[in-house]
Symmetry: C2
Subunit: 366 residues, 2 copies
């Protein structure tokens, strides 16, 4: 059977390895495996979200409330924007997909950083758009502006802070940049890790309300998968001027988010105490990873997220990743991004100590 030609160019996203796979492949017990590969919140979801799931499980035979009334109201209050400035997706991933399908086609160019979230390119290629990347390793707005002026992209992705590297632009610089962008260019500010960035440095804080008021061609993306601890529930959101939301909503399939995901997100958003505890753990544990890198002589990128990226030299990223994997510690090998680097999610103190101990063991064997 023949298919559309665009399928030939689509590559598949390489996800962090799941715990189930390590159980199956290496016979390690599930509760002995530590996953520091996908930047999940090591403290888990809010206990209130869990209670809501358990309480509402008997209603799963019913289709979700497709208006998503309750969660939209709650996000509207949280961000002080109107409900018609909000769209909810199966992860903020799905909002990225809506943006690209709404705005781009085989004649479009889409601008992004050299090393950034892989799904930007995968969704761009699915519509046949041309991907343009700035040359420097971390986000550099001078490069973005130069490439914008040269290539006239229809979409620009800024990942703030950037996954998988951890670098983060300053708000004032982003605003200066946005002032120079044509109002028909959609600028996507991916704030998947914003909770971590603003807890560390308020200069990194992007307020969606302020952003979309000043720049009606910008969309802010947020997720419940990271700090909010709901990675398995597939739920995120976009905030933009209402005509953008209206266009994206046309591409939203009915019932794109499960009933339990909507309820869990509602409770997670209310439980700011759990978020504070999660951010605190991250701020406390990050310095150990920086100290370890310095001790071993690795380069690392100062991180505004809940992960850290080690740029390796003498060690091979695949070798150390496999060594740890076989011993039940899953980290992210960045070789698929063309880097000899590893990305490690900041876990709990116990998880991190096991990572450091195994890494020492690896080094001592060489």
């Amino acid at each position: 059977m023949t298919f559309n030609a665009a399928l030939d160019s689509i590559s598949t996203y390489e996800a962090g390895k799941p715990i189930e796979l390590v159980v199956r492949e290496f016979g390690i017990k599930e509760d002995e495996i530590i996953k520091l590969a996908s930047n999940e919140n090591p403290l888990g979801a809010s206990p209130k979200a869990l209670q809501s799931i358990i309480k509402n499980a008997p209603n799963i035979y019913l289709y979700p409330d497709d208006s998503m009334f309750a969660l939209k109201e709650s996000l509207s209050q949280h961000f002080q924007v109107s409900t018609n400035e909000i769209i909810i997706g199966a992860g903020s991933d799905q909002i990225i997909e809506f943006c690209i399908h709404a705005k781009a086609n085989e004649n479009s160019k889409i601008l992004m950083a050299k090393t950034t979230f892989a799904m930007y390119e995968i969704y761009s290629k699915a519509v046949g758009a041309k991907v343009i990347r700035t040359p420097g390793e971390v986000h550099n707005l001078a490069e973005f502006l130069e490439y914008y002026n040269t290539y006239h992209p229809s979409i620009i992705f800024l990942c703030v802070p950037n996954n998988p590297l951890g670098d983060c632009l300053d708000r004032v610089d982003i605003y200066k940049f946005l002032k120079q962008i044509n109002e028909d260019t959609l600028v996507i500010i991916d704030g998947a890790y914003q909770e971590y960035a603003k807890a560390k440095d308020n200069d990194k804080n992007i307020d969606p309300k302020e952003l979309i008021k000043s720049f009606p061609n910008a969309i802010y993306l947020g997720t419940f998968s990271k700090a909010y601890g709901l990675g398995g529930m597939r739920i995120g959101y976009g905030i933009a001027e209402k005509s953008i939301i209206k266009a994206l909503s046309k591409l939203r399939p009915p019932f794109n988010v499960t009933t339990l995901s909507l309820l869990a997100a509602l409770e997670a958003l209310k439980d700011q105490e759990h978020i504070q505890k999660s951010l605190q753990n991250n701020l406390e544990q990050m310095p150990y990873f920086e100290a370890f890198a310095k001790e071993q002589g690795f380069d690392y990128i100062p991180s505004y997220t809940n992960f850290i990226t080690y740029l390796l030299k003498e060690i091979d990223s695949t070798q150390i990743s496999d060594f740890l994997l076989q011993r039940g510690v899953i980290i992210r090998n960045l070789s698929s991004y063309g880097l000899n680097a590893i990305r490690i999610t900041i876990g709990t103190k116990e998880q991190n100590q096991k990572f450091f101990a195994l890494f020492h063991h690896f080094l001592s064997q060489r």
Copy 2:
């Protein structure tokens, strides 16, 4: 901001009204509302699926196992097909979307029945394809064959049994039809209600293994939203020859199904006792709906599903739907399909009796 022109032609799916909306709009208590609008299983999900959700809730901070290993293995055993002949989606809806995006574009024609599942058209229009409909109200394979020969569609949808009408083609007739279709035409056999059809009449039973072995250009779609009682969990599957599955998989976004949905589906599939109980309730209750229609002089279409469609004459479908809605009984007004008709999900005995009583009340007021 400008968007792709295709967005202009996209209409939005009109879903059955959720219970939450009736609570909000009419101030009726949640436990007094009866939803007979979206063909959910009135006995709910398998208790084993609920137990699995409750047990696994603490793991929702982790991303799902994107290989969907366990559920694919289980579906593979259930249908006696290979795991590479299976794709899992956020409802079978999402598989419909993958099929259309993989195979169709603005130059394509897509053939379907006059009155059938609305999402076929919505997804077709999203890629700019032309929708061709057979003229008769119910599925008619002579018409399908004539239109196939005239228009050369790249995709044909057969909804077996058909939603929202309830009619159902015989397996032998479908097979005769498929023999006359070119191998480059993708034929989608939507089996969302197959469990109900085959429980009533084995001539309606489509075996996915046999189907795809005989017709490598066919894909079978199944869902956990109806008989399996997981409408709120958004999970369904497609079964086809492995090169089709490979092409569709390129369009599957990572983590398209939640962790709890995968686990719930796994348990629901195992719990065939719960399915049998659900099918039994449906077979027992359907005759009351047929008798009521005869009593009142309505036409109805003999149904092979868990709903029945009344074709109204003197009564207006919007009037009766609104009357019931204001009293806490939600049914589906088919006016958006251009019909003066209503579709009622077969509920439990108690739910159905409330429906009949209110309908009598409505008639007595006229």
